[in-house]
């Protein structure tokens, strides 16, 4: 069986179209890493005296500021950060309080403080709300918006703060949005796996295979496993590439800070106790599930297609359909359910945020979307695998 899997992988990897698509994927990966890892605002900084830093120096500066506040993330910590920010960068602080845009070169710990600084007319807003019979949360003793108002739900123990830029960029570049590396990775999986069975028909190798002792049983399993291994290899390979790039550029500082305190990710309201390291592993898990789902369904389509090209076209259409349908649908149960399909699932940030929305069927069930995605992947592997098995086994090699 291992020899058969090895040969099937060799067949997949020696296809020039697959090699080309992997090359394009690596190019996209390089561009994403350039934007998120090496050329991000985290690699540029401005000190209180106006000195501009870049590269490792800038990263070290951002990290040193963040480490000052490492530990419990409370309203007091925010007050301290706001105080330090106003003292170190008074001009930028003034812009922030006025609602203007601030320099992206500021220490990242200060960049998102605007969410805790109430607008100048806060009292007026509070009175209007009262007049309308509603209320808005009171400010803290320091006159700031409390972190409790952002729905940081497991408040029984304080969230942990730490440096989070690198983790946020890793997550965003890998799977935190639609335009991340995970999406093209799935397309490469489709390109590769779409030929797994169909190429045997078009190359007229089906007769030779089906006559062989293991041609109608173990080989089919070997092909399916090779498709899964390829999918895992692509996603795992990209994850390792990202890990190396981010590890070399930023180190592992801040790995144990809670993802909710990584303010750039807007995950404050997510009621899931994950730190930054667990967050990117969670993202990897989601993308891997999507990859396995994609590989299984594509293999099934390949088994019932006559040529790799027709298999590729149908597989791509099947892959994209839930993505396009979801964009056309208004918020509702069907839209939420479509999240389990790979093209939607790879946006791991949405997978995390969806249970925060009261309108979602996943509301207040933080793990539900992820579990649904994993369950859908298992079901897809079982059903698509069985159908592919039957289709190839019963294929009539008419010549």
């Amino acid at each position: 069986m291992l020899r058969m899997i090895r040969f099937e992988l060799k067949k997949i990897c020696s296809d020039s179209v697959v090699i080309g698509s992997i090359a394009v994927l690596l190019l996209i990966c390089f561009l994403i890493l350039q934007a998120y890892c090496f050329g991000s605002s985290a690699a540029s900084a401005i000190t209180p005296d106006g000195t501009r830093l870049s590269g490792r120096e800038a990263i070290a500066f951002h990290q040193s500021i963040a480490e000052k506040y490492a530990g419990d993330f409370t309203d007091d910590t925010i007050a301290e950060m706001v105080s330090d920010f106003s003292a170190a960068y008074p001009a930028e602080y003034a812009k922030m309080t006025e609602g203007g845009s601030v320099s992206s070169w500021l220490p990242s710990s200060y960049l998102y403080l605007a969410m805790f600084i109430p607008p100048a007319n806060y009292d007026e807003i509070a009175q209007d709300a009262l007049a309308e019979g509603t209320s808005i949360p009171p400010l803290t003793e320091d006159g700031l918006v409390s972190i409790r108002d952002y729905g940081a739900a497991y408040a029984d123990k304080p969230l942990q703060y730490g440096y989070g830029d690198s983790w946020a960029y890793f997550f965003m570049g890998f799977c935190g949005q639609t335009i991340a590396i995970a999406f093209p990775a799935l397309i490469v999986i489709i390109i590769a796996v779409s030929a797994v069975f169909a190429s045997e028909y078009s190359a007229k190798m089906d007769a030779l295979i089906l006559i062989a002792r293991h041609g109608k049983n173990r080989l089919i399993l070997a092909k399916l496993l090779a498709a899964m291994i390829f999918a895992t290899g692509i996603i795992g390979g990209l994850f390792i590439l990202f890990s190396i790039a981010f590890g070399l550029q930023y180190g592992a500082v801040g790995w144990n800070a809670d993802m909710q305190t990584n303010l750039g990710l807007s995950l404050m309201g997510v009621n899931l106790p994950l730190n930054n390291l667990q967050l990117i592993l969670f993202g990897f898990g989601i993308v891997w599930s999507a990859g396995i789902f994609t590989a299984a369904v594509t293999a099934m389509i390949s088994a019932v297609s006559k040529t790799p090209f027709s298999s590729l076209i149908v597989s791509f259409a099947v892959f994209m359909a839930p993505w396009m349908i979801r964009r056309l649908l208004p918020e509702g149960a069907l839209r939420d359910l479509l999240l389990v399909f790979p093209a939607n699932a790879v946006n791991a940030a949405e997978v995390l945020r969806l249970p925060v929305s009261a309108a979602s069927i996943y509301y207040d069930q933080p793990l539900a979307p992820a579990l649904c995605i994993a369950f859908a992947a298992v079901v897809a592997v079982l059903i698509a695998g069985t159908l592919a098995y039957r289709a190839f086994k019963d294929h009539q090699a008419a010549g």
Partner: protein, 288 residues
Amino acid sequence: MQLTLDRLTKQYGDKTALDRIDAVFRPGIYGLLGANGAGKTTLMRLVCDILKPTSGEVAFNGTNIRDLGERYRSVIGYLPQDFGYYPNFTAMNFLLYMASLKGLNAGYAKKKSLELLETFGLFAVKDKKIKTFSGGMKRRLGIAQTLLNNPQILILDEPTAGLDPKERVKFRSLLRSFAEDKIVILSTHIVTDVEYIADEILVIKGGTLLKKGAESTILQEIAGKVWECRAAGQEAERLETRFAVCSRKRENGEAVLRIVSDEKPCAAAVSAAPCLEDLYLYYFQREV
């Protein structure tokens, strides 16, 4: 060892590709003769269990091959009429791949592959990619893979297509030495190949089995129907238009024609001893 075809029928929609074929194969070499579309390839694929019969069955030692499944597939070797190989595989890798499908262990597979590459004159190019091979080399590699599992039943669809005369002679002698105690069924358009190596010949036409028997027995069917005659100019042209002409050569300004016909084609015609090509033409003159 016995392979039995019992009222074997295959239909594609309204078209009957094979119609109630009955035959028994025991160890020996069997040659299938038939024009394109006669049903030879369909018959071979049914025997290989890669096509499902519409009705009837193929039985190996009394058991339906569909029930035998893997046990049957492990004793059979098959060379399709044409197949694509894997252009990026080397000859050695291709054989090792086929060996893994046939369930041979890694050590034996390597030893047997090297042995077959040597036998078929491909040892020197064993590490070359198949896409660099000529048609004849690919065909030899295809034949080599059929022998990996030392099959008891060998099905060869046009095995000599693309081989040069020297390779064909070598192949025939190899097949003869291999066929001891085995059932070999081969189809070819090269009638002389069948003539030289087949113990029995099956003539298939329009999906039905017309004849099955030893060459000498089958040729009796057309005894007295093969003629040689000399004719000149327009008379030769008239004969060629009216009768099935096997061959035409020129001697002393006249055409010497070999004709297959139930009736004597001309007064000067003399009866000739029939050969397999005559038989082929006799049955398939409308198809060729």
